[in-house]
Symmetry: C2
Subunit: 178 residues, 2 copies
C-alpha cells in the first residue's frame, strides 16, 4: 500500500515509519478497538491530518501495519531438502498465524484494501523454496498454498482448534506427493 514512488529513507518513508512504530507501540499498551488517529498522531509527532490524508481512517492504517508486519524478516529456512524446507516453513506459518498477534493480523488484513497481498507474500516465500531445487519434480506454488496455507488459516478462523502438527505433516505429504 506504499506509494510506488516512495524512496526508502526519504522524508515520506521516515514519516511512515514513525507512524507505523507509534501504532505498534500503542497496540502493545491498549486494546486495538480503542486506538485513535489523534493518539497515533501525538505519539508519532505528526498532525492527525497527515494520517487521514494518507490512510483515510484508522482501520486502513491498522491493516497497513499488519501487512508490513507480515513481511517475513528472513528467507525461509534452508534445510537442504525440498521436504525439509516446506515443513520448516509450514510449521512456522502455523505457529505464527495461530498466535494472538497472528490472528489479529488475519482480521486486520481482511479489512485492508488488498488482502490478496497475503497470498502474494506467501507465494513469494514458497517460490523461494522451490527455486532452490531446480532439478527435482516440484509442486506448483498454488498447490502448496491450497493444500498447506489454506487449511492452516481456515482452521484458525473457522474451526474449534488449529491444525495439529501431525495433520499439518500429512497435508505436506499430500502436497509434495504428485
Amino acid at each position: 500500500m506504499t506509494a510506488p514512488t516512495l524512496r526508502p529513507g526519504g522524508r515520506s518513508a521516515r514519516v511512515q515509519e514513525s507512524i507505523h512504530s507509534a501504532v505498534r507501540q500503542l497496540l502493545e499498551e491498549q486494546d486495538r478497538a480503542s486506538v485513535t488517529v489523534p493518539q497515533i498522531a501525538a505519539r508519532a509527532g505528526v498532525t492527525p491530518s497527515t494520517i487521514y490524508r494518507r490512510w483515510g481512517d484508522v482501520s486502513a492504517l491498522l491493516a497497513d501495519v499488519a501487512l508490513a508486519r507480515m513481511q517475513p524478516d528472513n528467507e525461509p529456512a534452508n534445510t537442504g531438502s525440498l521436504h525439509g524446507d516446506v515443513r520448516a516453513w509450514a510449521e512456522q506459518y502455523l505457529d505464527e498465524m495461530s498466535s494472538e498477534p497472528g490472528r489479529n493480523m488475519l482480521y486486520d488484513v481482511q479489512a485492508a484494501l488488498k488482502p490478496s497481498y497475503c497470498a502474494t507474500i506467501i507465494g513469494g516465500q514458497l517460490q523461494t523454496i522451490l527455486d532452490r531445487y531446480p532439478d527435482q519434480p516440484k509442486p506448483s506454488v498454488d498447490r502448496l498454498i491450497n493444500l498447506i496455507a489454506a487449511p492452516t488459516v481456515f482452521r484458525i478462523l473457522f474451526a474449534e482448534a488449529p491444525l495439529e502438527v501431525e495433520q499439518l505433516h500429512r497435508l505436506i505429504e499430500i502436497a509434495l506427493n504428485q
Copy 2:
C-alpha cells in the same frame, strides 16, 4: 447461538424470527455499516432493549443472522456416487461463498462468538454425504474440510481471485484419492 432450551414456535423463537427477518430486510435496503439496533427494533416491533438483552450489540446480531443463513436449506444433492455428491457440494459451496452475500457472511461469522460453528455445519453436510456410501473406502470429514472447503474460503478471503472450477475439481480428486 440459539439457547438450547428454545422451543421452536415458542414465544422466544417467534421474537427471534421477527428480529432476524427485520435484519435481513434492512440489509437488502441499506449498507450493513449503517444498520442500528433502534432501526431493527422498530422494524421487528420489539423494544431495543430486547435486542441488547439478547445479543449485546448489533455486530453479534448480524453474526447470528449470518450463521442462521449459513444453515443449508436442504440436504446435499444425492447424485448416486460419492464423487458426484462431493463435487456437487463443493461447487455449490464455492459458488455461495464467493458471492457478495457469501463474503459478507464470512466476515460476519468471524465476528461472531462461535465462528467454529462454520466447520460444524460444513462437517455435518459432508458427513451426510459420506454416510450414504457405507460400503466404500472414504476420506475423513476432516480431510474433505482441509482439502476442499479450506482452499475455497482462503482464496476468497486472501487471494486475488477465487478458485477456478478446474482447480476445485483437482482438489476433489486429491481429497478422494487415498
